[in-house]
């Protein structure tokens, strides 16, 4: 390099290239740590999507009493169809219910389809627009429960609430995991920078000798720490994406029908967030590792 520039970035780049084995090992360790965090975030992201999907599913099953007069049922259907935001109203007779149940269930549970028709109550399946708020839907459900022809109304709220509790637990677990990951990132980068500092002791001594300020000396090491953090996080995202798309390609249809949504990868802002966290943690860890600069 003969351009007269031995700037901070240039010195950091050359330092990393010269000790590429050390830095590669460090980035790999960081990537493994970030994969754990990324995987937890990926699971949480998809669980939240499922919760969102079911919370706004806008479906309910109105089970009718066995002795409900056909006239009342017809009036109910008409009334429901006129409710604002109602997308669909479908009457399911006991026979129809047993047939649909038999189509859905396979294996040992298929034997349940052999039950008598009386075991399956008649129902009205309603589909409400996602624009209808949860409170409005609750209002409709409570009014329906008071009607004489209605035996029970089933929504997916309880299931959604269980899922929400699961997600809360998942968020707490991810937060704890984050702390563990952050601690390991700090330890890995701090150790790498201390080792790099030791290996470049002469360089640091020379810099001090010619009157470089601590800021000037520390600059490249801080950049190296940030770069390691960013590369570690980015490596984790790439690894996770490869695994995700590999698994999704094989199980897509089954997964989608099972959970009701198509599994999605981490949103872009989570990816950017992980990289930013890597940069900030890397810089912080490097600063910690440089607390005791070579004395001259």
């Amino acid at each position: 390099m003969l351009d007269g520039s031995i700037g901070t970035t240039s010195r950091a780049r050359r330092g990393m290239l010269r000790e590429w084995r050390l830095h590669t090992l460090s980035v790999f360790s960081l990537a493994v740590a970030f994969v754990c965090l990324g995987a937890a975030l990926l699971v949480l992201t998809n669980l939240q999507a499922i919760e969102e999907r079911w919370a706004h599913a806008g479906r309910a099953s109105i089970y009718l009493k066995d002795n409900a007069p056909a006239q009342d049922v017809e009036s109910l259907k008409k009334a429901l169809a006129n409710v604002p935001g109602m997308l669909g109203v479908r009457y399911v007779s006991p026979t129809q219910a047993r047939t649909e149940f038999g189509q859905l269930e396979t294996g040992s549970r298929a034997e349940l389809a052999a039950l008598p028709v009386e075991a399956f109550p008649a129902s009205i399946e309603i589909e409400v627009s996602p624009d209808v708020s949860d409170s409005d839907l609750d209002g409709i459900v409570s009014k329906l429960r008071q009607l004489p022809a209605v035996d029970d109304v089933e929504t997916y709220q309880a299931w959604t609430e269980r899922l929400a509790r699961l997600i809360k637990g998942g968020v707490a677990a991810a937060a704890l995991l984050s702390l563990v990951v952050f601690a390991s990132v700090l330890a890995v980068i701090g150790s790498t920078i201390r080792l790099a500092l030791q290996r470049r002791r002469t360089e640091v001594e020379v810099l001090k000798l010619v009157g470089a300020s601590d800021r000037f000396i520390k600059g490249p090491f801080l950049i190296e720490g940030s770069a390691q953090g960013a590369l570690g996080a980015l490596g984790a995202v790439v690894l996770l994406a490869a695994l995700f798309f590999l698994v999704r390609g094989r199980l897509d249809a089954e997964l989608a029908s099972l959970i009701g949504i198509e599994p999605s990868f981490l949103p872009w802002y989570v990816v950017v967030g992980m990289v930013c966290v890597g940069i900030v943690l890397g810089r912080f860890a490097a600063a910690l590792g440089l607390r005791k600069l070579v004395t001259l």
Binding site: G4, K208, S213
Partner: protein, 285 residues
């Protein structure tokens, strides 16, 4: 671009008013950013030691009440046996050590009281050359010299020009792209000298710079320091190599058991510092 233009260029970083040394221009000490230059600094001795004490072990002082004045533009040999405090003296001067007592005035400023953040500014005004060269072997010759100016934040064009001049002065023109680690000992020492002089410091400290060189190379390197001195720079040259002291008669300061004997013309004979005579090459070293 000539040296005159170089000195007029403005640096671009934290150092707003660097010292460009000794040739026809007042030295401006930059011990702390933002402080003003004292106009009477040029008329003061460049260095004054006042009752300087330094010991690493109780009861065994390396420097015992040292008093010494070094004027601007002097060439001074510091000599004495191993462990007599030559290196300690130089380390105190570039603030790698602090004396236990006393004052050291560098152009009127007491450098023993410098705060740690001021030390880099002191070092930008002092060039130091070591026995073990202290070069970064993986850097090129150019980079090893340019770092002195890089620290000052000078523009790349100016750095190229100044480094080229410094390498020419030490006879290494055309070697700037070579990695410093592959050079011979004599060449590495020349690179170290170029690094010390490229910033045109007010003071050059040489700590046994010929210790790793054969006698002829040692005389060549001493010649480099003579040339630097002739250009007006103050040089303090620490050595225990008696043969070098006779190459050119210079002021001699002998350190022994914490005491100092100052021989201004380098010719006197004294027994004060442990029975030594220069003419007989009979220093108790």
């Amino acid at each position: 671009m000539g040296p005159r233009e170089d000195r007029d260029a403005s640096p671009s970083n934290e150092n707003d008013n660097p010292s460009w040394g000794s040739e026809g221009r007042a030295f401006r000490p930059l011990l702390r950013a933002g402080e003003r230059f004292a106009r009477d600094a040029a008329s003061r001795p460049i260095l004054m030691f006042e009752d300087v004490y330094k010991s690493y072990r109780p009861g065994a002082p390396v420097l015992r009440g040292m008093n010494l004045i070094i004027e601007r533009g002097e060439f001074v040999f510091i000599t004495g046996p191993s462990g007599s405090g030559k290196s300690t003296l130089l380390r105190i001067l570039y603030a790698a050590e602090k004396p236990d007592e006393g004052r050291i005035l560098f152009l009127g400023r007491d450098i023993t009281r410098l705060r740690s953040e001021s030390i880099p500014f002191l070092r930008r005004n002092i060039g130091v050359v070591f026995q073990d060269f202290k070069l970064v072997g993986s850097w090129s010759v150019f980079e090893n010299v340019a770092i002195t100016l890089e620290v000052l934040g000078l523009p790349a064009r100016l750095i190229r020009s100044r480094v080229g001049e410094a390498l020419e002065r030490v006879g290494l023109q055309g070697r700037s792209a070579d990695p410093a680690g592959v050079l011979s000992g004599g060449e590495q020492q020349r690179v170290a000298v170029a690094r010390a002089i490229v910033g045109e410091p007010a003071l050059i400290l040489a700590d046994e710079p010929t210790g790793n060189l054969d006698p002829q190379l040692a005389i060549d390197v001493l010649g480099l320091f003579e040339e630097i001195h002739e250009a007006g720079t103050t040089v303090i040259f620490a050595t225990h190599d008696r043969s070098l002291l006779d190459v050119h008669r210079r002021r001699l300061v002998v350190l022994d058991e914490g005491r100092t004997v100052d021989v201004p013309n380098g010719l006197a004979t004294s027994d004060d510092a442990g029975a030594w005579t220069r003419s007989d090459n009979h220093l108790p070293l």
